[in-house]
Symmetry: C2
Subunit: 123 residues, 2 copies
């Protein structure tokens, strides 16, 4: 997945979209990246280690996501061939895609002003 930080020398603009649902963080940049990697790897654990994140944290993020959405975004099985695994649901794919579109749209929409603002900063 692409980085969510846009550099210019040591100057960077971070755009973070966070969705909250009654005090819980339903979705955000970390969860979006995690979904993407679960899709790629077919495993919560592998996705976690690619993000240099503990399995426990990744699993906990998945729990929160699944709880906040009407339908789960990730389905996991344990036991079985390969020990188990995880995959995205159709809802999971939709949510990931919409979120990524929002990130890109946000980036495009801010670029002009960001170029102005950047000039005011030390390099």
């Amino acid at each position: 997945m692409k980085k969510k930080t846009y550099f210019s020398g040591s100057i960077a603009l971070q755009i973070r979209l966070r969705i909250t649902l009654k005090r819980e963080i339903a979705f955000g940049p970390g969860k979006a990246e995690l979904l993407q990697l679960v899709d790629e790897t077919g495993s919560i654990g592998k996705a976690a280690s690619r993000m240099k994140m503990s399995y426990m944290r990744a699993w906990s993020l998945v729990q929160t996501m699944n709880r906040c959405f009407k339908e789960p975004l990730v389905l996991a099985t344990h036991g079985g061939q390969g020990g188990g695994g995880a995959e995205l649901t159709e809802t999971g794919r939709k949510a990931a895609a919409l979120y990524q579109r929002m990130e890109k749209a946000s980036l495009r929409a801010t670029t002009a002003d960001w170029n102005q603002l950047r000039r005011l900063l030390r390099s």
Copy 2:
């Protein structure tokens, strides 16, 4: 200042734009609000208390901002009539305005997809 959180029942989308400069947070939602309130109140302390933030923290945010930009965003005097005070520089006003424009642009650009994504969430 307007809130940076856009509600729909208990569901909310937070859009945070953060500008970093060599490991430091040069600008973000908190600093933007602080600037606005310093402008309104003419005082770092009063701005801080309106944000329910300690003076020390507010002052430290101002220090960081001033350090990261080519020219300071806030000028403060201590002693004198009223004990002193603070005001925005022209650069400060420009930075605040550009940041607010970016926030608004980002919101507009994400609204359509956000309305879609929202439907996938529990209410």
